[in-house]
Amino acid sequence: MDVTFYISAAVAVVATLAVITRYNAVHALLYLIVSLLAVSLIFFILGAPFAAALEAIIYAGAIMVLFIFVIMILNLGPQAARVERIWLKPRTWLGPAALALILAGELIYILISGGEQEPKAGTAVVGANEVGIALFGPYLLGVELASLLLLAGLVGAYHLGRRSGSEGSDSPGSGRPNGEKV
């Protein structure tokens, strides 16, 4: 099983790398789904089957579909990929890569210097049953809050998604026509 972990981990990392480097949005999205599935597998290995299932169903399934919708709405085809190629020159990577490498170095150093920790992960399965009991026990209020959070998302998406009057122009309430200094 350990080997599975390492393989999945490798897949996840490679797929993620592909996500952030692809020019075509749909390709990137597919790689992301691969990555998410790999993570889902890791959840399973770590003894969290419920989380694994949600990862696959909701994340890889539902949320990514939203992206696809938007990509379709915006009609990001090969044309967009060309633009993307211009935007994402190798030189662009210098700064982000440097920052990311330093950050990664630090995190790796921290995690390794933390030493072998006991207990190890993935030694027991925490199933859907336990999760459900906790969810509607001590975390009941959390669920309620999460529902309100989703409500906020709903209302917000509804409001923002509406195509109404304020065509283009700078609507009142947002500073000068051009935000430059006066």
Binding site: A104, G122, V126
Partner: protein
Amino acid sequence: MASIPANYGLLLAAALFVLGFAGVLARRNIIFMLLSIEIMVNASGLAFVVGGSRWRQPDGQLMFIFILAMAAVEVSLGLALVLQLYHHLKSLDIDKASRMKG
């Protein structure tokens, strides 16, 4: 069952997190930025699950569920904003959305 040192799980999470972060920094296309953010969020969720697994508690997974909810909200709002922004800018270039500065 496998017994993986918790650190390894976290290392993976960290790697994904950093990759996501790099994506946010590097990509000018807002869609890609949102994708990168999803990677970061997902990495955090992974870290929680690792913790839950290590302590054999459901709490880690619960946090993951909440994160999932949040990710859903964020993506929906984010994409709604992207549409609006595209409506205004006729472009997905985040760097163009920099009228306010100084």
